[in-house]
Amino acid sequence: MKYRYDVAVIGAGVIGCAIARDLSRYELSVALFEKESDVCGGASKANSGVVHSGIYSAPGSMKAELCVKGNEMFPSWARELGVEFRRIGKHVVARNKGELKELENLKKVGEDNGVPGLRMVDKKELKILEPNIYGEASLSVPTAGIVSPYHIVIALAENAYANGVNIFLKAAVSDIKQRKTGFKITTPKVSFSAKYIVNCAGLFCGDIARMVGIEKFKVYFSKGEYLILDKAYGHLLNHLVYPVPKIVSGGLGIHLTPTLEGNILLGPSARYMNDREDTSTTQEKWDELLSDARIFLPDLKEEWVIHSYAGVRCKLVSSRAKKPGDFVIEEDKGVPGFINLMGIESPGLSASPAITEKVVGIIKESQALKLKKNFTNVASNQRFSRIDTKGKDRLISEKSKHGHLICRCEHVTEQEIMDILDNPLNVRTLSGIKYRSRAMMGRCQGGFCKARIVRIMEDSFGIDLDDITQRGEKLPLFAGRTKDLRKHG
């Protein structure tokens, strides 16, 4: 095993994986450390999947600059990775005439930030563009789009791996010491050394920064809850539909976000909290999200909801702050070689290609980087369900297990599950399979497929009964075989 690296990236969320992958273009040795059992564990997993235009960020801020740039870079970035980015556009909808002035202000801010194509839309036209939405007028934001955040992160990570990045999962960084030769990084089993560290630890960015003596930032946490609506209602929206934001430093309000899969997301909410690992959902937000969404979709029924989830973002300003915080992306002056990314909340995902460029640029200032000749883009396989009927037939004749559907709701095949279990990062948890395949994410939430996936894991991959877990927990999912309790008490 290799212990010495040029660059150690800490945190395998969208930022960490994007940076690791980009660095893998160069003649550099790169390690990516992640404390969870899979990549994309934190805020990168639990967001709306929106690539924002940049209209919400304060003019002159790094958030604004990098979001607009990132949005512009996104289509080719996504193409390289073989993931889908759909520019469906957004309507920020004024609910009444009183909000029209706010909307105009928002348009101006957007234009100041360099967001292209902004246009006011009147009630009549809004009705044609979004027949199911009730609104007085809207601001059309054509550059906003949607992605599948976990697909992007997994694609980034697998690309990084394919190009030589060593990815260490279940490798929480507990200590960093500065040596003459670079940094000594302690993880549970092994210590590593690296010339550069890129801190992309998201919720734990403050902890990592403190390990090298950077104490000046206070990190706060804000939980966002979401509801997912059944795909059967996805047709109700053509664009992202957002309300006019009321408070500038708080959240953006309850959005209605179509997803690439055809669901609609309601949310997120935003509430400051102390426990950054508390991703529980609440009755309060469930009710609030439904009633807020009904402002735009009056016919929305509770039965349309198939799932709810929550994520936590890190913030650099407290709940009482009058202005939102900005990104911190810098090589710390007191700790050369330590590139500190703090407070990468929304629009972090949108800005990720631009953030990546900026970070690589920072490294280039002190280190000459030579491009590899053999960097390759590895595109992920197309999903079976997206292929046309003739194409499906062809695939099945090549690999018959593609004909055996395991997930009825999302049409995932046995072959896809097997290919996924063979993933380069060797992630073999149910959750890992879920995010890579879409199985267990449909309306039956695993009712049909989970048992069959467990069977494939055991029979085809020899995974022991006691090693089957949801997310790599210490405790297995099952309490043994059926007779074990009676036999052993």
């Binding site: 509801l227 997912i228 059967a232 690992e277 508390d278 991703t279 529980s280 959902t281 609440t282 009755q283 469930w286 509770e302 039965e303 909801v305 198939i306 799932h307 709810s308 989830y309 009927t389 003739k390 499906k392 037939d393 099945i396 004749s397 018959s400 297990k401 004909g403 055996h404 559907l405 009825r408 709701c409 049409h411 309306r443 039956c444 939430q445 695993g446 009712g447 049909f448 989970k450 048992a451 467990v454 069977r455 009964l465 877990t469 949801q470 997310r471 927990e473 210490k474 405790l475 999912l477 099952f478 309490a479 043994g480 075989r481 059926t482 007779k483 074990d484 309790l485 009676r486 008490g489």
Partner: protein, 411 residues
């Protein structure tokens, strides 16, 4: 891509599909084909290893697999074609199916289709139990599959939400195999399953049944550590001060079944939001000509014997339709009125028909009254009515008369 034509295609090889296919064949249909996604026939009955099936039809208390085997034997002896490990991925209003299996994609043209896809379980996500999302939360049927088919125990200390039959059966199953069931929690003021099950699954094992309660929080990081239950008021809202924590490592959800009508929606078939299944006429034909529905995909049943009877009707009519022998009758709508949750079929003709329904609330000494406007068409007195027990009544030709519209209510 394989292309073939059959006379009657039956989607689903569980109790409904088996009976429908057999009836279609017996009625003289040409080729009858069952398409089943699992590796064997029998559907959900394969995992229902408890007894109580067949009391009506066979006058015996059979276990699920035994009941299924009777129909599997019949299907095989009738020479019905069977595709296993095969999933119907498309259905259209021209009764054309696209089926996927390891041999490839098959396009199947049909003269009649019987929908027998059964149902899925309502999920935690759909009912929005707040709390964390740890491992150890299963739906009751899912757990039943793991325990009875895959030989995997789901937990050691299991709280069950929902006192419908599946929840009750699983409570007993878990205790028999050595797990602990601290409570079965039920939001309604009455038990959701059949009385027989309440006695033999809960009372027999001293498992507490908490009526008027629900789960308001799930705690646990990686694995379930406890659930919080609370009493609910008359609007089913939790009463905060009654919150109580129950330690457990597993939560089983038995919170309802939803007819699996994804294919029906795809084919543009009209659905009844009260049943979750297709709107059908007295032939059990849906709004799409030549497509019939039966079993749990039509409406969630409680006794498999009646699933069989339904399915036989649907299969027979599908066969007749395939031979162009099914006579189209004028449709008389039957509307559920006061106290009635739903009525199936939703449209009848002037011929004698069996109608089934569920009441919204339990009660004793009630009358089920059919009316044509103000005129009473039929009254049936029942000693006892309850939502879990589906009511089946026969409407005779004389009673229907020349009614144009019927309503039925509890009085």
């Amino acid at each position: 891509m394989d292309k073939r034509t059959v006379d009657v295609a039956v989607i689903g090889g569980g109790p409904a599909g088996l009976a429908a296919a057999a009836a279609a064949k017996r009625e003289g249909a040409g080729e009858v084909l069952i398409i089943e996604r699992d590796e064997r026939l029998g559907g959900i009955l394969n995992q229902c290893i408890h007894e109580g099936f067949g009391l009506e039809i066979f006058k015996e208390a059979l276990t699920g697999p035994e009941y299924a085997q009777r129909y599997i034997n019949e299907v095989r002896s009738l020479g019905i074609s069977i595709m296993l490990n095969s999933m119907v991925i498309e259905l259209n209003s021209d009764r054309e199916l696209i089926v996927s299996n390891e041999d490839g994609i098959h396009k199947i043209l049909t003269k009649a289709v019987v929908l027998a896809m059964g149902c899925r379980e309502r999920t935690r996500g759909a009912i929005g139990i707040p709390g964390s999302r740890p491992a150890g939360i299963f739906k009751a049927g899912e757990a039943q599959h793991f325990i009875n088919i895959m030989d995997r125990m789901v937990g050691r200390k299991v709280v069950i939400l929902g006192s419908g039959d599946i929840g009750l059966i699983m409570a007993r199953r878990l205790v028999l195999e050595g797990a602990e069931v601290p409570a079965v929690v039920e939001i309604m003021p009455y038990c959701g399953g059949l009385l027989r099950n309440r006695v033999q699954c809960l009372e027999d094992f001293d498992i507490p049944l908490l009526l008027n309660h629900t789960v308001v929080d799930i705690k646990g990081g990686e694995r379930v550590e406890s659930v919080t239950v609370a009493r609910v008021d008359e609007n089913q809202n939790p009463i905060k001060r009654t919150k109580k924590t129950i330690e457990c490592d597993t939560l089983l959800l038995s919170v309802g079944l939803i007819p699996e009508n994804e294919l029906s929606r795809m084919a543009g078939i009209a659905l009844d939001e009260k049943t979750g299944g297709a709107v059908v006429d007295e032939h059990l034909m849906t709004s799409c000509d030549g497509i019939f529905a039966c079993g749990n995909v039509l409406v969630v049943h409680d006794i498999v014997d009646f699933v069989t009877k339904d399915a036989e009707k649907a299969g027979k009519n599908a066969a007749m339709y395939s031979k162009k022998k099914l006579i189209d009758e004028p449709d008389i709508p039957v509307i559920p009125g006061l106290g009635i949750r739903f009525v199936v079929p939703q449209f009848i003709s002037t011929e004698e028909v069996e109608i089934y329904m569920r009441v919204m609330e339990p009660g004793s000494y009630k009358k089920i009254v059919f009316r044509d406007g103000k005129r009473i068409v039929k009254t049936k007195k029942l000693k006892y009515v309850s939502p879990p027990e589906m009511i089946r009544l026969r409407l005779r030709k004389q009673e229907i008369g020349n009614a144009k519209k019927l309503s039925v209510a509890v009085e």
